[in-house]
């Protein structure tokens, strides 16, 4: 049933044949698409000024289709939960990071953090935004871990968890508060849209960054074992 372990050449050729036909079909389908299709860009540009940001992508991400983004933060958090549910951190092997890495990281990390915040800010008008910023932040974190740095015991418990869920919870909080004001979930009033988006993005950036780092280290911190 399960082809994984079945490497007979016949099966190979069969598979190749199938895939080729499939490719052909898809290519044909693609080529049959109209050459010009504006998609939704028109509607987007139309409503851009209402969205509170100039960058259309950010507008879509955090306003028009903010709900997607919201759920997707959920996915990210879920991945972390799943990883943590699988067990604790593999033992950190204490290797001396080495001169280059040490000095380099010392130099790089501030820059990375700076850059993250820049991306976050610029996201409103130009390419950039929470995810880019978050991943840069994560890069910094990864560097830290590579250099053998470990999170302070005290911070490993609740504080860490709060930081992890900050993005999602603030996102939701904003949505719900708006509902309390009689609007729909995540329906920003144009006047404050910019501020709200920035707030959400800031929180998201932090959470994303930390989550990615946590994912990188691949297990829940020791202190979680009670």
């Amino acid at each position: 049933m399960d082809p994984d372990n079945n490497n007979s050449t016949l099966f190979r050729y069969l598979l190749i044949a199938v895939l080729i036909t499939m490719t052909a079909g898809l290519v044909y389908a693609l080529l049959s698409l109209p050459l010009l299709a504006s998609g939704l860009s028109f509607q987007v540009t139309q409503n851009l000024q209402l969205s509170g940001v100039e960058n259309p992508v950010t507008a879509v991400l955090l306003n028009f289709r903010a709900y997607d983004t919201f759920l997707e933060m959920g996915v990210l958090l879920l991945a972390l939960l799943a990883v943590w549910s699988l067990g604790t951190l593999p033992k950190q092997r204490e290797t001396a990071p080495g001169e280059v890495l040490n000095s380099l990281s010392g130099l790089l990390i501030p820059i990375l953090v700076l850059m993250a915040s820049y991306l976050l800010w610029v996201g409103a008008s130009a390419p950039g935004g929470a995810f880019q910023a978050g991943s840069v932040l994560a890069a910094a974190g990864v560097l830290l871990i590579l250099t053998g740095w470990q999170l302070n015991e005290k911070l490993q418990g609740l504080p860490l968890r709060f930081a992890l869920v900050a993005g999602l919870s603030i996102f939701m909080a904003v949505g719900v508060v708006l509902m309390l004001f009689g609007r729909r979930f995540l329906e920003y009033p144009p006047s404050v849209a910019a501020a709200l988006i920035l707030l959400i993005e800031a929180a998201a950036t932090v959470s994303i960054g930390i989550t990615l780092v946590a994912l990188f280290s691949g297990g829940r911190p020791e202190s979680e074992q009670q």
Binding site: N7, L15, S38, G39, L40, A59, R65, A82, F216
Partner: protein, 100 residues
């Protein structure tokens, strides 16, 4: 034939290559990579086709979708990798065990 379609066709190619690798190779790491390649293929199609606007300014919605998709992919990959480590720790080899 415009660059748009070249890119999107490359995307299709990646998708199928990934599928092939996913089915053929027993090693889990390769399987995970294969899935990622398939994903990139899909994203490539998604973004490339967004460039078919008259104005030349690409349609932003697909870009947003791709970002969402990437984050999902990253999360999934992370989970997959950790799971792989656990499996190989439990079974001693980084491959799918026989069904039980």
């Amino acid at each position: 034939m415009s660059a748009v379609f070249v890119y999107s066709l490359v995307g299709i190619g990646l998708f199928n290559l990934g599928l092939y690798a996913l089915i053929i190779y027993p090693h889990l790491l390769r399987k995970i990579l294969a899935v990622n390649i398939m994903g990139s293929g899909v994203f490539l199609v998604l973004v490339a086709l967004a460039g078919r606007t008259a104005s030349g300014v690409p349609d932003p919605v697909p870009h947003a979708m791709v970002i969402t998709g990437i984050v999902v992919a990253v999360s999934a990959t992370a989970l997959a990798l950790v799971l792989m480590l656990r499996v190989s720790a439990a079974t001693g080899q980084p491959e799918l065990p026989e069904e039980k």
